[in-house]
């Protein structure tokens, strides 16, 4: 049984099931409810099988290298290479898609009668299926085909809610950016093909000596831009805050939790595995990109009051943190410190898994709130904790996980990344440890600012009094949505409590890479889940923290409530308002909460404030009729990066356009000229 589950056939069941699910949903074009049921159950089944496969594979399986029947195209072969790293990513994808598909059961009811659910199901299932193919493909062209399916399917889901014009714009921007990225990826693979004569990853790795160093640097640059666009590093992130909010919520969750990690997976695969040995500046570049992305991501998140855009910017921040771990791993490996490199790799893989879990949890809770309130603007929420208490609890768990508060899972992965950076400061000599000091500073600042941002988000959405009348009509979400959120919250707690076990598994995954084949890890995990970094540099123990804190809270509750003074009463009264009636305008708003931080960082964020005043009498200008204040953040990327690029491309295209002048004599002369050139080149 076990051998069947970890065999290639078992893996191929997964994409097959998704293809059947996708094509099958088209049969339910006429019946929305049946289509919803079909989509969710088949996606859940396929993801469940993926979970079973990946878990057994990671724990017991051997590396799988196989290919399907040879195709008629000469360079394309449907070859798969599933090693433990790919299996880990298959695990993450399956885990998140189970819960997101379950969520879809309740969520898609809002799209009945408005849009075609069957079409959504088609794209959704193909999207999920292609994700599995992306992380397991071993041929560059096959990989690109799967990548394209993933991008196109997600584009159609981004523009699914097409009555809203901003979603269409967001989809177009997403499409353009993802194709620019894909173009760079194709260039990188073409360069590798030119020197190694093959598109197979295994062969490229073996023949790497044939590639000169400057070509490797070019491949690095192109791959970084290409996969970085998908991952959302700054400054290639401009599509993320528009596209993730536009999509339906479970798609946002999968895009943010899983799809951007496919970029990270390919970066690990290329830089850590295929293109080794690498020069030092590659790792330093990735570390610097991680520093910039994490800091800027959280600063932009603080300025947002659209809840999904806020979560999208936090994805950028967490990708920055993952790149901090990956960059330090690459630097350590080049400087001949493979144990530390393994530590860095384990840290970034752990954070990848954790981020997938808590980001999906946050997106699903946000979607539940948006469903009830029909708006994404945080300023119109308030007091929802009384109407949607379970959603509030799940959002609270997600916020505590993403702010790296013990005992949830985010804390342990950030602890590992911190320890990697600390080791870097200690072990490296003076030129390089300065950059690690900057990295620690940025990670510390990021953690603090993320905490502030989630206090703002949770407080503005759920606490205090309602800020708009719509809140009073809010109802708790249906059971399927709550089950999905609850499952992810449970995952967050489990990954935190059993972080020791997860680290043991990640060690096994890390040492399976050829770069680390003989490396002993610095981490030891005791039987009681206590994690130690040798030699006694630091220890942390998840169950201790969890149990001690929980026990303390319960003991204090018991002591204070039951023992000290039992005759007290608690009266429910009015908020102390100094005698004024409190109206919703008197509460703190999300914008007001973050305004202090925005003003402190105003040289980076460039906030602007414009006032427009209308007077009753334009001549005397004494009594105001209306006073409008517009607060905006300056957009640095469009102004300095994309607009100039656009202008150059536009200008060049206008020049080139003169060739196509409509004059048939000119066209004939072009043919004549091309003929002459071809004849001369043959001679």
């Amino acid at each position: 049984m076990l051998t069947f589950i970890t065999s290639p056939a078992s893996f191929l069941i997964i994409p097959t099931l998704f293809i059947i699910a996708g094509l099958g949903s088209l049969f339910f074009r006429k019946n929305d409810h049946l289509a919803n049921l079909w989509i969710s159950t088949t996606a859940m089944l396929a993801s469940l099988w993926g979970l079973i496969f990946s878990l057994s594979f990671i724990l017991f399986g051997q590396e799988l290298v196989f290919s399907l029947a040879p195709t008629s195209f000469p360079l394309l072969s449907l070859s798969f290479h599933i090693d433990l790293l790919a299996g880990f990513f298959v695990f993450i994808i399956s885990l998140i898609s189970i819960f997101c598909s379950l969520y879809g059961l309740g969520y898609l009811t809002h799209f009945y009668k408005k849009y075609n659910i069957a079409v959504f199901g088609f794209f959704f299932n193909f999207f999920l299926g292609s994700l599995f193919l992306v992380v397991t493909a071993s041929n560059a062209i096959f990989f690109l085909i799967a990548w394209e399916i993933m991008s196109v399917a997600s584009y159609f889901m981004v523009v699914y809610d097409r009555h809203d014009k901003s979603n269409i714009k967001a989809g177009l921007l997403y499409l353009i950016m993802t194709y620019v990225g894909t173009a760079f990826i194709i260039l990188a693979f073409l360069l590798l093909y030119k020197y190694t004569n093959s598109f197979e990853f295994a062969e490229i790795k073996n023949q790497l000596a044939l590639v000169p160093n400057y070509i490797k640097d070019l491949v690095f640059a192109f791959a970084l831009i290409g996969f970085g666009t998908k991952a959302g590093i700054i400054p290639l992130h401009i599509w993320l805050p528009d596209a993730h909010p536009a999509a339906p919520t479970q798609v946002s969750a999968i895009m943010s939790g899983v799809m951007i990690k496919s970029g990270i997976y390919m970066m690990i695969r290329l830089f850590m595995d295929i293109l080794q040995p690498i020069p030092l500046w590659w790792g330093v570049t990735i570390l610097v990109i991680g520093i910039i992305s994490s800091l800027l991501g959280v600063l932009y998140a603080l300025t947002e009051h659209d809840i999904k855009r806020l979560l999208a910017y936090h994805s950028i921040e967490n990708i920055g943190i993952i790149l901090l771990g990956l960059g330090s791993a690459l630097i350590f490996y080049t400087l001949n410190l493979p144990e530390l490199a393994l530590l860095g790799l384990i840290a970034s893989l752990f954070h990848t898994a954790n981020h997938a879990i808590f980001k999906s949890l946050l997106f699903l809770s946000a979607g539940s709130v948006i469903n009830a309130m029909h708006t994404r603007n945080m300023e119109e929420y308030g007091g929802l904790i009384k109407y949607m208490p379970q959603t509030a609890l799940f959002f609270l768990i997600g916020s505590m996980a993403i702010s790296a508060l013990p005992p949830f899972n985010g804390f342990f992965s950030e602890w590992l990344i911190f320890q990697t950076l600390f080791q870097g400061i200690m072990e490296l000599n003076s030129a390089w440890h300065l950059i690690f000091i900057v990295a620690v500073g940025s990670l510390a600042l990021t953690g603090g600012l993320a905490l502030a941002c989630f206090v703002k988000a949770f407080g503005a959405i759920f606490l205090a009094r309602p800020r708009s009348a719509e809140v009073l009509h809010a109802k708790e979400s249906p059971l399927s949505m709550r089950l999905a959120m609850g499952g992810l919250a449970l995952m967050a707690i489990i990954f935190g409590l059993f972080s020791g076990t997860v680290i043991i598994i990640l060690e096994k995954i890390g040492t399976s890479l050829s770069a680390f084949s003989n490396v002993t890890s610095l981490l030891t995990v005791s039987a009681s889940q206590k994690i130690t970094i040798m030699p006694d540099f630091g220890t942390v123990s998840a169950p201790v923290i969890f149990i001690t804190l929980g026990a303390l809270v319960l003991i204090i509750l018991f002591l204070v409530k039951s023992v000290i003074y039992k005759k007290q009463t608690v009266k429910i009264g009015r908020t102390w308002d100094c005698g004024n009636d409190l109206n919703p305008r008197m509460e703190i708003t999300a914008t007001g909460f973050a305004r202090s931080i925005v003003v402190i960082f105003k040289s980076i964020l460039k906030p602007s404030l414009q006032q427009k005043i209308e007077y009753h009498d334009a001549d005397s200008r004494f009594l105001q009729k209306s006073h409008t204040i517009t607060m905006q953040m300056g957009d640095v990327y469009y102004t300095f990066f994309y607009n100039p690029l656009y202008k150059i491309v536009n200008a060049l295209s206008l020049r080139v356009r003169t060739i196509q002048n409509g004059n048939i004599n000119a066209y004939i002369s072009y043919i004549f000229g091309a003929l002459i050139v071809a004849l001369f080149s043959v001679l």
Partner: protein, 308 residues
């Protein structure tokens, strides 16, 4: 003997923190040429508050009701995980730098949420300011503790506290720099001058107090106690990590007594320093505080760079 150390370590911070607050208030009063309340006055305050009824706003949710217990539990937990009077620990192994910092952040998280929960405008602003100060102070906090961790090659607090005097004098300059950075973070996190005035009545100048304006009765007692606990925790961290003198290294009665005496002396020195600072400075304008916190970050970064 081990049992005695266990019991004292569990309860020392919680038992002694109102006394520390009382000492600071007493010194401030004497500097103002008056007698002031007795040093045990905070104990009477907490006792009285535990016996009063409560009034809770109808806009408040379970976060408001649960937050004081969580915050107090967090400070008790951190209180017995840090080196107080011994340089070894026979309690649970939760004394890593990052565990301490982020566990204290749980307290800040719930405090800020509780401030926003009742919907009072003053509470919301207090939360906003507190999160701004705390977000910027966390960098300086991690860095200053990191300096001593790197000097001692371990991020475990008890290993740092058991450093001997020779290592200490070797890296004097980084330690002094990191200590001055740590002092700024201490004042920021415990809501002292120049960040916050703990005795003010003007809501426009409050950071910490405005978040607890809505609390009454036993919950208020726990919040006040948690604030005093946090003060003693930071004093203990500052004293025992940067100047690890007088800590007991074996479990004999003499060593324990010397350790306790050293701890009390350190608290008194810090209290005098804080009280004199409060009597000679004015509270800074809010937008001058980020400059102070970012300079703490930079001082600490320089300290780390100087170690190697």
């Amino acid at each position: 003997m081990n049992l005695l150390i266990f019991i004292i370590q569990l309860s020392l911070v919680t038992a002694i923190s109102p006394l520390c607050t009382g000492i600071i208030k007493k010194i401030k009063a004497h500097l103002q040429n008056r007698h002031g309340a007795s040093v045990f006055q905070p104990y009477y305050d907490i006792w009285k508050l535990l016996h009063k009824d409560e009034v809770i706003s109808r806009d408040a949710s379970f976060i408001f009701r649960l937050a004081p217990f969580i915050i107090f539990a967090v400070t008790v937990f951190v209180g017995f995980s840090i080196p107080l009077f011994t340089s070894f620990s026979n309690i649970f192994q939760a004394s890593n730098i990052l565990v301490i910092i982020y566990t204290l952040a749980i307290g800040t998280f719930f405090l800020a949420l509780a401030g926003m929960d009742s919907g009072s405008p003053m509470g919301g602003f207090g939360s906003s300011r507190e999160m701004t100060v705390s977000a910027l102070a966390e960098g300086g906090f991690i860095f200053s503790l990191l300096t001593v961790a790197l000097i001692n090659h371990s991020t475990d607090l008890f290993t740092i506290a058991s450093a001997n005097l020779f290592d200490f004098s070797q890296s004097l300059l980084p330690i002094i720099l990191a200590f001055s950075g740590f002092l700024i973070v201490l004042l920021a996190e415990t809501a002292r001058f120049p960040f916050d005035n703990p005795a003010t009545h003007l809501e426009l100048t409050m950071i910490h107090e405005s978040m607890i304006l809505e609390y009454s009765g036993k919950r208020l007692a726990l919040m006040e106690w948690a604030t005093s606990n946090k003060l003693v925790i930071f004093i203990a961290l500052g004293a025992n990590l940067f100047f690890p003198l007088g800590l007991a290294s074996e479990a004999t009665l003499v060593a324990i007594l010397i350790g306790l005496l050293a701890f009390v002396i350190k608290i008194i020195i810090f209290s005098v320093a804080i009280a004199s600072l409060e009597s000679s400075l004015a509270k800074f304008r809010f937008f001058r505080l980020p400059d102070l916190l970012l300079s703490s970050l930079i001082i600490n970064a320089v300290a780390i760079a100087l170690i190697f």
